[in-house]
C-alpha cells in the first residue's frame, strides 16, 4: 500500500498526503468541516449554501461544507479527541481556548478576526407562555412562588453559562448588592429550576415541546426560533432590564487546516461571515449582526438592551474558575432535586 510521506510537514506534501490518504474521498471536491454548537443549525444551513455559491463564483471550485452540532463543550471535546474540524464556531471563547491550550490553534486566535472573532452576537432573554400568566417582566420575577424556570446545566452547556451570568449581572447591580446577596439570588433562582437539561436545545424542547416550566431563560435567537417553529401565538419574549452580550466566537483550527491543506478556504469561510451577505443571513436567523448597516435594517427586530460583557466578569478564565469550575459558585448553590 502506498503510504504518503507525512513526517515532513511542508505544505505540498501535506496537501498531497491528505488527498492520497483519504483514498475513499480522493475524487471528491474540497470539503470543510464546521464543528458548531446546537442552536446554530439553521444559521449555518443557510450560510453554507451562500458561501458555497460565492466560493464557486470566485474560484470555480466546488465546495462541500459538512456540519457537526452538539453542546458547545461536547463539540470542543470531540475536536480534542480528533474530530477533523477545519473551523469551530462555538458558544463561548472558553471552549476554543481549551483547544488552543492543547496546541490545536494559536493562542491569539481571538485577535485574528474582527470583533473578538465573533461575527454575530446574541443575548439572553426570557421566553414565557402567551399572555404572560405569571407576570414575569424581569429577573426578580423569576423568584415568585410557584414559578418554574427552565435553563440548562452550566456544567455542560455554553448557553446555560450565559444565562447564569445574565441573572448574576442583574443581582450584582441591585442597590446595596454584595457578593453574598448576588449568590443568594442565584441560589434562590436555581431552587425554581425543576430539571437541568444538558444543552440549550434540550432545554428549549423541554419548555416548548414537553410544556415544562413557566419561563425559559434562553438565547435570543433560540427564543425567536421557538416562536417561529411553535407559533407566535403561544409564546412571548420578555426583555429583562439587563442581560449579557454573548459573543459566540469562530476560529480556524490551525493544526487541521495545515494538515488538510484547507487553510485558504477555511479563512475565506469565516471572513464571509463578516460580509453584508453573511451578516444578513445571521440577522435573518436571529443573531444580532455586527455590521452597522445590517444592524440598522434589523433595529426593530433587535431592540436595544442594557448589556454587560464577559469582561465585566473578568474574562472567561476568571468567570469559569469563579462560577463553573469544580467547587465554584454553581457547585455551592445547586442541590440536585431541590
Amino acid at each position: 500500500m502506498p503510504r504518503p510521506l507525512l513526517t515532513r510537514r511542508d505544505a505540498i506534501t501535506t496537501a498531497a498526503g491528505a488527498l492520497l490518504a483519504t483514498t475513499a474521498h480522493a475524487a471528491q471536491p474540497t470539503s470543510l468541516l464546521n464543528v458548531s454548537y446546537d442552536p446554530t443549525r439553521e444559521l449555518y444551513r443557510d450560510f453554507n449554501r451562500a458561501f458555497i455559491k460565492a466560493w464557486k463564483t470566485k474560484t470555480g471550485e466546488t465546495l462541500v461544507v459538512n456540519q457537526s452540532h452538539n453542546g458547545s463543550g461536547a463539540s470542543a471535546r470531540a475536536v480534542l479527541d480528533g474530530l477533523q474540524a477545519d473551523v469551530v464556531t462555538l458558544a463561548l471563547a472558553a471552549d476554543i481556548d481549551a483547544l488552543a491550550k492543547h496546541g490545536l490553534l494559536a493562542t491569539n486566535w481571538q485577535t485574528r478576526l474582527p470583533d473578538n472573532a465573533s461575527p454575530y452576537t446574541s443575548t439572553i432573554v426570557l421566553l414565557v407562555r402567551k399572555g404572560n400568566p405569571k407576570q414575569i417582566h424581569d429577573w426578580p420575577d423569576l423568584l415568585k412562588p410557584g414559578v418554574q424556570v427552565i435553563t440548562p446545566n452550566p456544567k455542560t452547556s455554553g448557553g446555560a453559562r450565559w444565562n447564569f451570568l445574565a441573572a448574576l449581572a442583574w443581582a450584582q447591580r441591585q442597590p446595596g448588592a454584595t457578593d453574598a446577596s448576588a449568590e443568594a439570588y442565584i441560589k434562590a433562582l436555581f431552587h425554581q429550576v425543576p430539571v437541568l437539561d444538558t444543552g440549550a436545545r434540550g432545554a428549549t424542547t423541554s419548555f416548548a415541546q414537553r410544556g415544562l416550566g413557566d419561563v425559559l431563560i434562553a438565547w435570543e435567537n433560540e427564543a425567536f426560533l421557538v416562536r417561529k417553529e411553535f407559533g407566535d401565538t403561544d409564546y412571548e419574549t420578555v426583555l429583562p432590564s439587563i442581560s449579557v452580550l454573548a459573543e459566540p466566537p469562530v476560529a480556524v483550527v490551525d493544526s487541521i487546516v495545515d494538515k488538510r491543506g484547507t487553510r485558504k478556504v477555511a479563512e475565506a469561510y469565516l471572513q464571509y461571515l463578516y460580509t453584508p451577505e453573511g451578516q444578513e443571513i445571521a440577522a435573518r436567523n436571529f443573531y444580532r449582526p455586527r455590521d452597522t448597516a445590517t444592524a440598522a435594517k434589523y433595529a426593530k427586530v433587535f431592540p436595544p438592551l442594557k448589556l454587560v460583557t464577559i469582561q465585566d466578569f473578568g474574562g472567561w478564565d476568571k468567570a469559569q474558575a469563579t462560577y463553573f469550575a469544580d467547587g465554584g459558585m454553581f457547585d455551592r448553590i445547586y442541590v440536585p432535586g431541590k
Binding site: L6, E42, S68, H69, A78, D81, G82, L83, T205
Partner: protein
Amino acid sequence: MADPHVTRLRHGALITLTLVLMTLLLLLPLGVIFTETFSRGLGAVLGALTDPDAIDAIRLTLTVAAVSVPLNAICGTAAAWCIGRFDFPGRTLLTTLIELPFSVSPVISGLVWVLLFGANGWFGSWLDQHEVRIIFALPGLILATVFVTFPFVARSLLPLMREQGAAEEEAALTLGATGWQTFFRVTLPNIRWALLYGVLLCNARAMGEFGAVAVVSGHIRGQTLTMPLFVEALFNDYDWVGAFSVAALLSLLALVTLGLRVLLERQMGGSRRDIF
C-alpha cells in the same frame, strides 16, 4: 387452598393487568410513532425519507450492519464452536467475556474506542501521523457496533451446540471428511436456524444502536450520522415529521425482525426457550 373460582378470577386479573401494561408500554409508543409520522400525510414522509441526509443515514446504517453482522456471525460461530466443543482452561472465562458487552453500558463501549484511537488515545498520535481515521469515521462506527452486538450470535449458538454434542462431527471425521467438509455438511446444517436467529437479533441491534455510536460518531451530518443518531438530530432541528419518519422506518425494521423471529422460533421446533 383457594376455591377454583377465585383462582380463575385472580388469573384473569393478572392477565388483564399484563395486557394493559403491554399496551401502555409497548403498543402505545409504537402507535404514537406511526400516527405522528403520518400526521402530515404520506408526501411529507416520503419527502423526509428521500432527503439526501436521510438517504446518507440509511446508507451508512446499512453499511455498518453489512460489515459488522457478517463479522460477528463468523467470530460468534467460531467462539461458540470453541466453547461448545472443547474443554480448555479459561473456557468459563471466555464464556463470560463474550457476554461482557451486555453488561457494559453502551456509552462505555463507545468511549473505549475514543480512549484507544482518539487523538489523545493510546494509538492516537500514530494514527494521526499515518492519516488513519478511526474515531469520528466509518471504522469507529463499525468497531463500536461490533463490540455491542458481539454476544448475539455466540449466545444463540452456544446452548444448541452444547446440546447437540460432537458425535455427528466425530462420525464425519472418522469417515474421512476434511475439517471444512465437516463444518459445511454437518455442523452448519445443524446450527443454521439458530445461526440465522442470532444474525437477525445482531442485525436489529446493529441498526438500532444509539449510545455507543453516538460517542464515536462526531455527528457529521450526511457522513457519520446513522439512522438512530439522525432521528435525534432531526428532533433537535424541530423537524418532527422527519424525525418520526426515520423513527418509523426503524420501528418497521423492528417489526420485521419480530415477525422473522417468530418464524425462526417455529423452525427451531418451538421447544427452544428464549436466551435473551
